[in-house]
Amino acid sequence: MVTFKHTQLKNGMDIVAEINPDAQSVAIGFMVKTGSRDETDDVSGVSHFLEHMMFKGTSRRSSADVNREFDAMGARNNAFTSNEVTCYWAHILPEFLPAALDLLADMMRPALHSDDFDMEKKVILEEIALYLDRPGHVLYEAIMKDHFGRHPMAYSILGTKESITALTRDQMKTYFDARYGPGNMVLAVAGKVDFDELLRLSEEKCGQWKHLDVQRQYPAAEIKGGRRHIADPKLKRHYVALMCPGPSAQHDGRYAAQVLADAVGDHEGSRFYWALVEPGLADEADFSFYPHDKVGSFFAYASCDPARSGQVADILQSELKKIILHGLTDQEISRSKNKIATAAVLQGELPLGRMRNICSRWIYNKEYKTLEEDLRLLESVDADAIKKVIQEYPFDPITTTTLGPAAA
């Protein structure tokens, strides 16, 4: 029997746990509500760089100790940074939970040594170079900029070669001090766990962290739409991206938006699939829903032969227009719901999948839903709910950014 527990330490840190006594393993993670959207121009990329630095040692541990200790637990562990959150996680056998918590909690109070900072800067610059060789990523960063303009969602997660080169250790420390308050993070655990023990250990490891008032800015997004082509004569393929406003992570229409996105652009059996991939016009054509914190987007992406770029762009547009005019059929809605539900159940069988789910839900909405509740909400999506989303978010204004060998 799966149960949920939540508590809050005096310093404001939330602890959430989905306890499954039948699980063979447990996933634990700290998720911090901070990401590239919380940066400023002069520190672009600091959230992600800091995520790397959190592995570089503490007052009690060297960087090598941190890595070695995770390995000694047989942990699968990593971290990721998005526009909005930074998450540090480990998937372990239950007997290692106290050790993993001790290590992760210690990492949340990093040493940020200058020599480690200088060394890791080189690794970050390598990561930037790596992604510059991936056209899909280059295009995504470009369209986020084009679409969001001066809104902080436009910030690149990695930053640029210039911003990272110029970044100092003290700027990073200032950012850390301002963002990593216990009230701005969640400790989430899913799988086989003794909650009382977890609570006792969290008090011991995190209870003395000072409360900090951390706010996120929510400026209005002024989306104007527009068009831009980036020419890169080295490329063989043409890449096209479209972005338009969608429901946010807090919006009631997000389940319907998810069904809509699946029906329009899942990699198989969707409108885009039949219009573009099945006939061989594009080797990839996806439509996704990105619910962010109080702002949201729909995102379309396709790649094709440069000679077909006009045709593919026209089809993407006309498919979206058809959706606006006629919505989805009941069969499409039902198929997409089944696909999403199955994916959720499969993900729910693994502690890591559940940990991420409860973690981000808590960060965005301070709420918990069981898998069953989630599936019921999904099941309740019907043609009317889809229509409502389309009326409120009619794929307009739309930003189009393309990348390819053509000059214009």
Partner: protein, 423 residues
Amino acid sequence: MSIVKTTGIKARQDVTTLSNGLTLLVESMPDVRSAALTILTPMGAASDPADGLGSANVLADWITRGAGERDNRALTDYLDSLGVQRSTSAETVFMRFNASMLADKLPQVLPVYGDILLRPMLSDAGFGPARDLAMQQLDAIEDEPAQKLNLLIKSRHFPQPYGRPVVGKKEHLTALTPAGLRQDFANRSTARGSILAVAGAVEFAAVRDMVEQHFGLWQSKEPVQMPAQAAAGGVWHEQQASNQVQIGLAFDAIPESDPDSIVLQIAINILSGGMGARLFSEIREKQGLCYSVSAGYMSLKHFGAVLGYAGTVPERAQKTLDSFLHELQRFSAGAQRDELDRAQVGMKARVIMNGESSAARAGAIAHDFYHYGRPRTLDELRARIESVDLKRLNAFLDTHRAGKMTVVTIGPAPLAVPVDMIG
């Protein structure tokens, strides 16, 4: 049949071979409500006709465009309505079908895969787009240097036909015809040498009856084999104005069926398992030379190889390669006890964590059958990992030094490779 108990994971494994030679493997997992299936059938790039390289890759797309009574749209809609997560791909030896679903959908899904393998439509209408997409894949690889490196290193190091890039050759794809590819499919389609694995909330007897019913009439013949040829090896550089230099290296290793392969797998974990492993710690953490650096073990039935990878900006590329080669050489001097302990703990944890996933288990038992002739239990995997002590590991490292290397780079300029290390 055997009952398995590994730290609480109870699963039951059954194996049977149909009269046409199809092997059925079933692992019943009591704690899940999903089911996953993996089908491996010997229709991979290695058995592509010599003048039809890339055929299996086109077939892997074409074969799902309608089967039995259902045309392409009906088939796709049907599987989608059942919520099936799926993929079909051509690999070196096999064509692979993976599908995950809620377990109660399996009786509706298995017949569809029976149709796909035994009665694909292979219609003229589906051929053009399937081939067109395969050609586009060739271009897409040119835009992704890391992917391109992966194909190049295998094609330079593995004996042919096993080094063939699955994507094939443009001129061969252009020359394919629907009739020719249909004939190729008829030649290669066989139950013998094929493996169907199911894992999850399923019962062996029920699965066996369904598989008998829907795959029992699959034709049975010897899988097609291509003559083997030695690999080119050596050093190869591909000029490209990429931001990073892609570095790939490969050397021969024992195949997985060798009793010592577990020692090799542990060694690879010490080299490149977690973040504390040697390559990551020495090349990334201590020197900041790259973001990605790794080594992996790859095995087909009769040979294996260790593949190394690093991506780094041109000004650090030579140092990265030198450091990588240095770590490989240094490794022959042996590992420390704590390194062995960490690798073993990590590998054992992975066994248990994968034991929670029906998709991972279906893939694993199919893999086991190909390499070991039977599925392995979680207990057995654990015992095999535990059986290696430091003495055996270090003796192995001493006698299995990194041999003659194949080195491939993609980037603005070639690198210097020490002559004594080149194969």
